[in-house]
């Protein structure tokens, strides 16, 4: 069909210019994660203000007599990091057509993500302070809660992949539906590394 004929038969809005070296769906995930990074950035700004810039900043972190459960959070960090490895394994497996390994990897990733979230919920119950205990508690619950919400969203995406996987979806040629939640899951993991390092360890 010539350009004239194409123009004559085309209805609706003009055809989008394709100029992009990144797949449109990956580009969408990129923009989404960029906006998420800005959201986390605003929370980190509040955190550093409370801890460093604020004239009434506590001399110790967390302020006396509170303590953060560093060990439990460390174990939780290990769980979350491991879940990224299993996520990577799952995607590599489906790319090679190894469906049992893909399903095993996705199941492990989902279970570890769920374990992280439940452990965080238990941690909140036993941490010994709440949001009314001061600004430090507010930024603690704000940052870790924001991250927890992202883990929940990630788990929802992983749950969908898991269900679709068990229903026979995805193949070495078609695995974009695994790739994108994988990118998101690694992003959630990267953010946790930053949160754990700055809030709990430093």
């Amino acid at each position: 069909m010539s350009s004239h004929a194409e123009a004559a038969h085309h209805h609706g809005p003009p055809v989008a210019n394709q100029s992009s070296r990144v797949d449109a769906r990956v580009l969408g995930m990129l923009l989404f994660i960029a906006s998420e990074t800005m959201l986390f950035g605003s929370f980190f700004t509040a955190y550093f203000f409370v801890r460093v810039v604020n004239p009434g900043a506590p001399s110790s972190w967390p302020p006396h007599p509170y303590h953060f459960p560093v060990f439990v959070a460390g174990v939780n960090t290990a769980i979350l990091v491991t879940s990224s490895f299993t996520m990577h394994w799952a995607l590599q497996s489906i790319k090679r057509g190894n469906r049992p390994a893909f399903l095993a990897g996705m199941t492990l990733t989902f279970v570890m993500g769920l374990a992280f979230l439940l452990t965080q919920a238990v941690e909140y119950l036993h941490v010994g302070f709440n949001t009314s205990s001061g600004a430090f508690a507010s930024v603690f619950f704000g940052l870790t809660g924001l991250h927890g919400a992202h883990v929940f969203v990630g788990l929802t995406l992983l749950g969908m992949v898991l269900v679709r996987g068990f229903r026979g979806h995805f193949s070495p040629e078609h695995h974009h539906g695994v790739e994108l939640p994988g990118i998101y899951w690694h992003f959630v993991d990267v953010m946790w590394i930053v949160v754990y390092s700055t809030v709990y360890l430093l």
Binding site: M1, S2, S3, H4, E6, N17, Q18, S19, S20, R21, V22, V26, M29, L30, I33, V81, S84, M87, H88, L91, V178, E179, G182, I183, H186, F187, D189, V190, I193, V194, S197, L201, L202
Partner: protein, 217 residues
């Protein structure tokens, strides 16, 4: 360092780098707060430097899938103002005589940098569309059916876009002569040969000489 958002594997590598970087920052920060800040700034600067340095390098050659039937030869024609030039039409005619050949003409929407930055590209796209329509009509007059589209203003990006949808077996790139061609100045032909795993034929169209010859007649 590659963009961590391009693929899951890249995101996973970025995660591993983050773990390593923050382990260093935490250890330095526990020794001394300012040492931790210094390590953080140093690693951030190194990451940005590595990313920018890699961006400047040319991407590796792309393997292009040949999806056309065995007896069909697909030719992608990329041309700017030279799209209606006699030399290009002649080259297309010779290729058409060689066998069952399909042509897809892409006219990049040439635009100034300022207009590109301000997203003022409508006039450029309309001009490119007019050139394209005229060329396809001229090819049709000599019995060659071709499809076409307006492409990105960067000819390499326009080629890449067209490759994704058209899967050509050959590229014909038309430019002005050396000294008058912005594309040749930027090394577009050489870059296309390096980047794409396809034969690239370079056709030089001298519109000025053609115009003078017409005036002389």
């Amino acid at each position: 360092m590659e963009s961590p958002f391009r693929s899951e594997a890249a995101a996973f590598r970025f995660l591993l780098l983050t773990i390593g970087a923050f382990a260093l920052i935490v250890v330095a920060g526990l020794i001394n707060t300012w040492l931790g800040v210094a390590v953080f700034l140093l690693l951030s600067g190194a990451a940005v430097w590595l990313y920018l340095r890699q961006r400047g390098e040319r991407p590796p050659q792309q393997r292009v899938a040949h999806l056309s039937p065995p007896d069909e030869h697909r030719v992608l024609v990329i041309a700017n103002e030279t799209v209606g030039g006699q030399e290009l039409i002649q080259e297309i005619g010779e290729l058409a005589l060689a066998g069952r050949t399909q042509f897809h003409v892409v006219c990049p929407a040439l635009n100034s940098r300022l207009k590109t930055w301000t997203s003022d590209s409508d006039a450029a796209r309309e001009a490119a569309q007019r050139r394209l329509d005229a060329t396809i009509a001229r090819l049709s007059q000599v019995g060659i059916e071709a499809t076409g589209e307006v492409g990105d203003l960067d000819p390499l990006v326009a080629i890449e876009d067209a490759i994704r949808t058209y899967h050509p077996d050959e590229i014909v790139l038309s430019t002005h002569p050396l000294g008058k061609s912005n594309w040749l100045e930027r090394g577009v032909v050489d870059a296309a040969r390096e980047r794409f795993d396809l034969p690239v034929t370079h056709v030089v169209v001298d519109l000025e000489a053609a115009g003078q010859a017409q005036q002389g007649e």
